[in-house]
Symmetry: none
Subunit: 211 residues, 4 copies
Amino acid sequence: MKNIINKAQTGSDLQTKTPPISQVKIMEALRSLLGEKEFSAITWSEIAQTAGVNEGLIYRYFHNSRNLLHQVLKEYLETNVSRLKLDLRGIKGTMAQLSKMIWAHIYNLSSDRVFAKILLLEVRNYPGYFKSEAYEWVREYNRMMEDLIREGIENGEISKDVSPLYLRRAIVGAIEHFCLSAVIFEKEIDPDTLTEIVYNLLLKPIQKTSY
Amino acid sequence: MKNIINKAQTGSDLQTKTPPISQVKIMEALRSLLGEKEFSAITWSEIAQTAGVNEGLIYRYFHNSRNLLHQVLKEYLETNVSRLKLDLRGIKGTMAQLSKMIWAHIYNLSSDRVFAKILLLEVRNYPGYFKSEAYEWVREYNRMMEDLIREGIENGEISKDVSPLYLRRAIVGAIEHFCLSAVIFEKEIDPDTLTEIVYNLLLKPIQKTSY
Amino acid sequence: MKNIINKAQTGSDLQTKTPPISQVKIMEALRSLLGEKEFSAITWSEIAQTAGVNEGLIYRYFHNSRNLLHQVLKEYLETNVSRLKLDLRGIKGTMAQLSKMIWAHIYNLSSDRVFAKILLLEVRNYPGYFKSEAYEWVREYNRMMEDLIREGIENGEISKDVSPLYLRRAIVGAIEHFCLSAVIFEKEIDPDTLTEIVYNLLLKPIQKTSY
Amino acid sequence: MKNIINKAQTGSDLQTKTPPISQVKIMEALRSLLGEKEFSAITWSEIAQTAGVNEGLIYRYFHNSRNLLHQVLKEYLETNVSRLKLDLRGIKGTMAQLSKMIWAHIYNLSSDRVFAKILLLEVRNYPGYFKSEAYEWVREYNRMMEDLIREGIENGEISKDVSPLYLRRAIVGAIEHFCLSAVIFEKEIDPDTLTEIVYNLLLKPIQKTSY
DNA sequence: CATGAATGAGTGTTCATTCAT
DNA sequence: TATGAATGAACACTCATTCAT
C-alpha cells in the first residue's frame, strides 16, 4: 500500500526491483526546486514539469506533497547518518567521537543550505513529520549521541553528574541555533570554529580529566 | 493570558491616537483562532467572522496576514520583555539575573503554547519576520542577555574566556530545543527543573567562583 | 454562519434583507440544468456559467454542491407543502382530505419530472439529505398525513385497527413506486386514475362505513 | 452471505467455459468493498487492490464500473429469485404463496443491507440498469407475483376487481418504502411483523373469503 | 491472460483581493 | 470608517483509461 521507493540499500542481493525512473525523477525535481524557493511555494505542476512526468503520477507515488518532501529528506538523512556511523569507526576516545559528531552535524547544515532550511524550518510544523521515516533517522542520530555520552560516563571520560538526554539536547540545540541564524541571514559557517565553540561550552566542562 | 491587547487606551500621556476598535477586535480574533488551529490554516474570512468585522477591512489594516501575525506577536513580546526588564531590577548578582532570564524565557514558552508554537515554528521561515517590530523585541531580549554576560565578565563573576554572543546563543538554543520538543509532543515543561538543567550545563562551568 | 438564502416568506414584515441576486441566479441555474442532465453530472463550472456568476461565489453561498441541491429542493417542497396545506382547508371529511393529499402528491410528481427524479432517485443515497431543511418538509408532509389518519380514527371514519404510521408508509410507498417507474420509463401519469387506484387498494378497505 | 459467486464451476452441464479466476476475484472484491462504502466512492484501483489483480484487467473485463456492479447484482438476484421459486413449491393456496413471496422479499432486504442499499438507492438512477440482466431478475420476480395474483383471481381466492399489475406495485412499493427507511436510518427490520402489516393492509381486504 | 507504468483532462474547492456604496 | 458582493486565478488531488511488455 505505502509506496516502495527503494529498499535497494538494505535489500538482499536478489531482485530488489529498481524503482521506476519517474519516481527518482520526481524526487530529483523536488530537490532541485527546493534550491530555488520555499517548499510551500512549490506546486505539483512545477514538480511534474521539472521532472518531465505527469502530475497524476506524483500523486500515485507520493500521496501528498509532504510525503514527497519527507521521502526526499529521508534519503538525505539516511545517507548522512550512515556515513557518519562509518566515519566514527576507528576514532579513539568518546570525547573525540562526540566532537566528530558535532563537526559532522555542523558541516552538513553548513554545506547544504537547502536541506538545512528544510530540517530547521520547514518540516517541524507539520506533525506528520515526526511519524515519518525521515524523522526516524534524526532519532537515530540522537540515539547515537546519547549512547556515546553514556559510554563516556561508563569509561570515566565524562562526569557522572551529566544527563545524557539533556546534554545531547543542549548540544543539538546550540548547534541548530547557531546554524539557523546563519541559514536565515545567509552567513557563512565555519564548522571548525563552531565545533570548538560548542566543545568549549558544553563538553570541556564535563570532562572528568579536567578536574 | 488575555493580557496586553492595546495599551493605547490605558496608555499614559493620552493622545496616542487610539486605534479603531475594529483593529483591536481583529487582533483579538487572530489570537483566539491561533488557539484552535495553525496559523497557516487560518483564513481572512475566519478572522473577519470571529472579529465580527468585514473581510475587506482586515485587508485594509494589515496588508497581508503575516503582517497581522507579526503585529500580534509584537504585542506579546513587548509585554513579556518589558515585564522581564522590570522583574530583573533589584536582583543581586549577574548570575542570579541570568538565571532569572532563563527561567522567564522557559516559563513564557511553557505557559503559552500558542505563542511558543508561533515563535519556534511558524514565523521563522518567513523572511519578513526578521524585519518586523516583533523580531526587534527578540533582539532586545538577546541584547539584554549578552549585556548581562558582559557585565558578569567585567565584575569578575564570569570567566573571561567566554564569548557573550556564543554563550547567549548556546543558552537560547538549548532552551528553545528543550521547549520545542515539549511543544511538539505536547508534554509538560517544568520551568524550575529546566532552568536548573540549563544552569548546570551552561552557567555553572563558567563561574569564576567555581575555580 | 450557515447561509441565509431567504426567510422572506416566513419573515415578519420588516426588512427581511433580500438575498443577493446572484444567489437566486445560481439556484435558478441549477434548476434549469437539472432539466438537462443528472445532478451528479453537473459541474460547478456549468452552474457558474449558466448563472453568469463566478465559480467561487457558488462555494461562498452553498458550501458544497449537495447543499445547493437541497436548498433548491427545499424551496420546491416548501412551496408545494404550503400550498397543499391551504388547499386542504375547507375540504369536508377525513377521507376526502386524504384523497386530496394523495392526488396532490401524485400530481406534483407527475407534473415536474425533474424534481420527481431528484426526490425519488438523487437525494436519498446521500445521508446529509435527511438532515437538510428540504427533508424537513417531507417529514411535515408525512406528519400531516398521519395526523389526518389519526383524526379519521377518532371521528370514526377509519377503522381503529389501522396504524397511522404504517398506513401512511404504505400509501406513500405505493405512490412513489407507481410514479418512479413512470419517471424512469418516461411514461405519462394520470393523477386521477392513480389516485383512485391507491384509494381503492388502501383507503376503501379501512373505511368504517364499508362494514 | 458469502453465497453465490459463480455457479459456472459448480454448474451442471459443464463446459460453461469457466470464467477466469480473476473475473471472480474482481467481483468478490467489489462485493466486499460495497460493505465498506458507497458504490460511487469505490474506484477501479481500490477494486484492483482488493482483488489483487491489475487495474487494467478490470477494465478489460467490465468496460465500465456500472457494468461490474450489474454483474454482481445479477448473481445476487438470480440466486435469490431462483431459491424463492423453489421455496414456493409445495405451498398450498395462492394467498399463502403471496405471503411467502412478501416475506422472502423483506427478509432479503433486511438481511443483506449492502444489496438492499444498492437495489433501493444506487442502481435506479442509472438508465443502463433497466437494460441489464440484473433487472431481468427483478422483472421475473414481479411477473411471478402478478401471475400468482392472477391465479388467485381465477381460483376464486382473490376478488375479481383487483388489478394484478397495480396490486403488485402497491405491495412492492410498500415493502420497499418500509425497508428503505430502515436501511437509511440503520434500523432493524422484523420480516414477520412487516409481512403481517403488508398482509393486513393489502391482501386481507381483497380476499374473497372475507366477504 | 496479465501487469506496471504512465497519462490527460477534469473536479471541487480555496482565498486573497477589489470595489461600489 | 466600514460593508456586502463579487471575482480570478490557482491548487491539490482524482481517476478512468491506455499501452508496451
